[in-house]
Assembly symmetry: C2
DNA sequence: AATGTTATGTTATAATATAACATAATATGA
DNA sequence: TCATATTATGTTATATTATAACATAACATT
């Protein structure tokens, strides 16, 4: 049994996964859909691939342009239906703060996630943290509020885009 | 010196403030704007009043309808400019998860907030919790991510809309 | 093949938000 | 007060994001 090595795990900032890593994510999605008796169609595969290959989260109409570039006939419902499916399967997430979609870093398990969204370069890191989830739960319970879904989106600057960052390979001085 | 009693403070669920409480919020807004040498115009006052009076967060076009009902000439930019101003002054918040706007419960101080959004009735409670803010900060710093703004929106069911709720005045049995 | 189901194509439109430029109201200084 | 600058609002058009409704195609099951 080959365990999938998540391209996001253990990295300081999210890099575009290699084509091998994308392939691995797609294979994983295919397996999940098969287990759930859901159809992982060519269109859905294509959309997930585009999202996985992207440097940062993509908008629906951006993705739509790629589909149209394929020669395929594609209108807004085409992309939104694919996105809805992928979200329902937990393969992608939607960022409400900027209306974009990104691949889930850990589609295996159901989870709440926190997103660190760089305002400069757009790169977005999905992190999982029980601490935040528990804080929310605890606070909500004091208000007798039943939590169904928590959205945490953190806007800021990633390591690369923070002032004072020097790329390691540049030597750091001049 | 009369201290403003926030209509949200200490409540289990957010109720529409009384007209006296709305008035108090508006007066407070007026003072804040005066301190900052910002113009609290009739339009801005009207929009803030509408938002304060609302039972739950309101959409921009909903608010726009009210302005038009006033007999006033109003187009989308009218409402969006007012909303932008009120947000810049920290008098209202925008919920990204459902594109709505609500009055800030504590416009005095700059703060990060958590919103408990009831999916059934729409009522939304703003709460302030250092615990969540600190968890986010701590997690982000591990990724060398500089936090600028944190959005936490919790979807679920408020006390009233949770299954099994009986209004206190009904006696609780039959 | 006949049938039911799911997915996709297609057209139109809804909902949310902004650009660009004109006019009006307000503030500031002579 | 008047001229001037600044800020706010009016107005028209358009951009962006998303869904409704119905037709056709692909797939599954018998
Ligand atoms: Zn995820
Ligand atoms: Zn960045
Ligand atoms: Zn607030
Ligand atoms: Zn409720």
């Amino acid at each position: 049994m080959s365990v999938h090595q998540c391209p996001h795990a253990g990295k300081t900032s999210c890099m575009r996964p290699t084509s091998l890593q994308v392939e691995s994510l797609i294979n994983q999605a295919e397996q999940l859909c098969e287990q759930r008796q859901q159809r992982f169609t060519a269109l859905r595969r294509r959309v997930l691939t585009l999202i996985c290959q992207a440097e940062s989260p993509m908008g629906a109409y951006q993705l739509l342009e790629f589909l149209q570039g394929d020669g395929r006939s594609a209108a807004p419902p085409t992309i939104y239906r694919a996105l809805d499916f992928l979200m329902a399967q937990g393969l992608i997430h939607r960022l409400a703060s900027n209306n974009t979609y990104l691949a889930c870093a850990h589609p295996q398990q159901d989870h709440e996630a926190v997103f660190l969204v760089c305002q400069h370069c757009g790169q977005t890191q999905e992190i999982h943290t029980d601490g935040i989830t528990h804080s929310v739960q605890e606070k909500a319970s004091r208000y007798k509020f039943k939590v169904l879904h928590t959205s945490v989106e953190v806007a800021g600057l990633c390591a690369k885009c923070s002032p004072g960052f020097n790329p390691p390979s540049a030597g750091g001085l001049a």
